[in-house]
């Protein structure tokens, strides 16, 4: 057994040397890798980062940036993919999901010259780790205002995936927004227990509709399932979204407004900081104040529903968030 290990070790070391020499001459361009748990075209969390990187690549010119991504990565697979990227000399490895936090922590020490980034997280990590946090409570707050002002039944549905990550912030921000606009409105919050079970999200949305909710929202990719249930419901039922891509699909007619993450700013930030010599050790917040979010109304939305009054209230809140006048204490919200 021992002999076997010695031989294996020797062989492995040789191979390692070989691999090392192959990457001796690094390319002048910046090499970015993305690791996601879903797919890069999931019309949600993963796609928004993917699209942002592509946009940055386009802006910088294809020659200045190399990009590779890995999909459907469970934590253990992500660990090996990330190590593979790191050992192949990638400069920035973005592990797009809070679930990757642990593997980045474990890996950062092993590859000190590589910059790692993951989010959602506000942690200050190791010297070569960036984190990024969408302050999703801000988008939740705006959507909450709309929901609170639009609802006629006074019941608002929220289709949660699980109570964690940016979904947790969004849910609480939404709560605050509704309370600010319409303190009497009741929020029907429930969870499917899964980020990806569209069918269950649809079932949950139907349950909320049956219960009398007339404005719904939801986070994560499963929300599409809920939006579909809304679209199939009789007129007068509306959706506020956490993803601008939802506006462009056929069901988008029911979407009053949607916010979206602007990861391009994060990616640009990462590249710039690394070029300037900062490999990590910072948390990059994403807020309205630093361009971390888009927010769009549905241009075709019925003006009787999305009244100027609603828009005015929302726009004011957005300005206040931008200027820092409005601070949201989302942690204080008890569900």
């Amino acid at each position: 057994m021992k002999a076997f290990f010695k031989t294996a070790l020797a062989a492995a070391t040789l191979l390692g040397l070989f691999a090392g020499s192959a990457q001796a001459a690094p390319a002048p361009k910046v090499r970015v890798a993305l690791i996601v748990e879903s797919t890069v075209d999931d019309k949600g969390w993963c796609q928004s980062m993917h699209d942002a990187i592509l946009a940055v690549q386009k802006k910088m010119g294809a020659g200045a940036m190399e990009y590779s991504h890995s999909e459907k990565m469970k934590p253990v697979d992500a660990g090996s993919a990330a190590r593979q990227y790191a050992s192949k000399g990638f400069d920035i490895i973005i592990c797009h999901g809070a679930q990757y936090k642990n593997l980045v922590d474990e890996m950062a020490g092993v590859f000190p010259n590589t910059t790692f980034a993951y989010g959602t997280s506000a942690n200050i990590g190791a010297k070569n780790v960036f984190t990024y946090t969408p302050f999703s409570e801000e988008t939740g707050y705006l959507n909450g205002i709309i929901a609170g002002m639009v609802t006629k039944t006074g019941k608002i549905g929220n289709v949660g995936p699980v109570d964690g990550g940016d979904a947790a912030r969004y849910i609480r921000g939404f709560q605050l927004g509704v309370q600010a606009a319409n303190p009497k409105a009741a929020i029907r919050l429930a969870f499917t227990g899964s980020f990806g079970d569209f069918v269950k999200a649809g079932e949950l949305a139907q349950t909320q509709l049956k219960d009398g909710a007339d404005v719904l929202t939801g986070a994560a990719q499963q929300a599409i399932g809920a939006l579909r249930a809304v679209a199939a419901a009789p007129a007068g039922i509306w959706w506020v979204g956490q993803d601008t891509a939802q506006l462009s699909i056929p069901e988008g007619s029911r979407v009053l407004a949607a916010s979206g993450y602007n990861y391009a700013s994060v990616v640009e930030n990462l590249i710039a900081k690394r070029a300037a010599g900062t490999k990590g050790g910072e948390s990059l917040p994403m807020q309205f104040s630093n361009g971390g979010f888009h927010f769009e109304y549905n241009a075709k939305a019925d003006a009787k529903v999305l009244t100027p009054a609603v828009k005015k209230a929302v726009d004011k809140a957005r300005e206040d968030l931008k200027s820092g006048k409005l601070k949201l204490d989302w942690k204080a919200v008890k569900l």
């Binding site: 919050l189 429930a190 569209f198 649809g202 079932e203 219960d211 599409i224 199939a232 056929p250």
Partner: protein, 316 residues
């Protein structure tokens, strides 16, 4: 909200929730009645869901668009039947261990649907799907109207399939053969019945129905496809067959009970009853185990040769 309305709401939703389970379990019942335990039901549902979605999706902008859903359902039925044949080849002709082969088929169907979807479609995209058809007159009946008569065509089909399956199983020559083949295949063989052929047919029918169940998920429930759309519902369907004691009516009862539990746990969350939602989500699964444990006496009623490959040349 009054308690009556609450019950009404739970029931209204339970019916559509139950359809996929009901279709798949009614199909699985034919498999098991013929003596074959098909755990691959889940994989077949994945493929059915994929094709049920894929066909209307790719016909969207063509003159065929109007028939998209119908053709999608046809494709789901066909792929289900084809996978039934694959399973029959492995378990009937090659006489492989059915439980493990089922896991293999499940992985194959799941993987194949995901792979093909990824290649031919890519990301999340919706289809129009099938709309609810309120049955004139009946849908206005208080209580029952909302619970039973305001659904899409596949839901009605599934409900009508319950008596149809009962009739097929107990009142037709083919049903007679299926029951004989699952209980005493050698006796059936000595009566000139081609045991393997009947098992192939039963697996094809069961597969087609599982495919239809998948299409229901993608066309009616979600109106979209993703590779974890089915999310283990096929396994529940298999359990429901035991639960329903191999009778279509029992299976209907089981599917409804499970769906009511599901609808109830969602409603409880929506009503704001506080307890960890994880426990609510696991409730239906716990229910299945409990019922399986209680239903053990029923085993003798079922196909006694379930799970055993038949080999004509095997001597006593």
């Amino acid at each position: 909200m009054s308690a009556g309305l609450m019950i009404y709401n739970v029931l209204c939703l339970a019916v559509p929730f139950s359809v996929a389970l009901l279709l798949a379990a009614l199909g699985e019942n034919f498999n098991q009645r013929a003596g074959v335990f098909n755990l691959g039901c889940d994989g077949i549902m994945c493929m059915g869901a994929f094709l049920g979605f894929m066909v209307p999706f790719s016909l969207k902008a063509t003159p065929w668009a109007a028939y998209g859903n119908l053709l999608g359902i046809g494709a789901a039925l066909a792929v289900g039947a084809a996978m039934g044949v694959v399973f029959a080849l492995v378990t009937v002709t090659f006489r492989a261990s059915q439980g493990i082969a089922g896991i293999g088929l499940q992985m194959l169907g799941w993987g194949l649907a995901g792979t093909l979807f990824r290649h031919f479609v890519g990301g999340v995209t919706g289809v129009e799907g099938m709309a609810a058809i309120a049955i004139p007159g009946l849908s206005k009946v208080p209580f029952l109207g909302g619970v039973l008569f305001n659904h899409n065509a596949l839901t009605y089909t599934a409900l009508l399939l319950v008596p149809a399956c009962w009739f097929l199983l107990y009142k037709t020559p083919w049903g007679l053969k299926v029951r004989a083949v699952g209980t005493h295949p050698r006796a059936a063989d000595t009566m000139g019945i081609h045991v393997d052929l009947i098992r192939y047919q039963a697996l094809m029918l069961g597969g087609a129905m599982a495919g239809l169940a998948g299409a229901y998920l993608s066309l009616c429930q979600a109106k979209m496809f993703s590779d974890d759309l089915v999310a283990g519902r096929g396994f529940i369907a298999v359990a429901l067959v035991y639960f329903g004691r191999w009778s279509p009516l029992g299976i209907l009862g089981g599917a409804l009970l499970f769906s009511i539990a599901q609808s109830f746990q969602l409603s409880m969350q929506v009503w704001g009853i506080k307890f960890p939602y994880e426990f609510a989500v696991m409730l239906p699964y716990v229910l299945v185990i409990v019922v399986l444990a209680l239903a053990r006496k029923a085993r003798q009623l079922g196909p006694t040769d379930l799970g055993k490959p038949y080999n004509r040349e095997m001597r006593f």
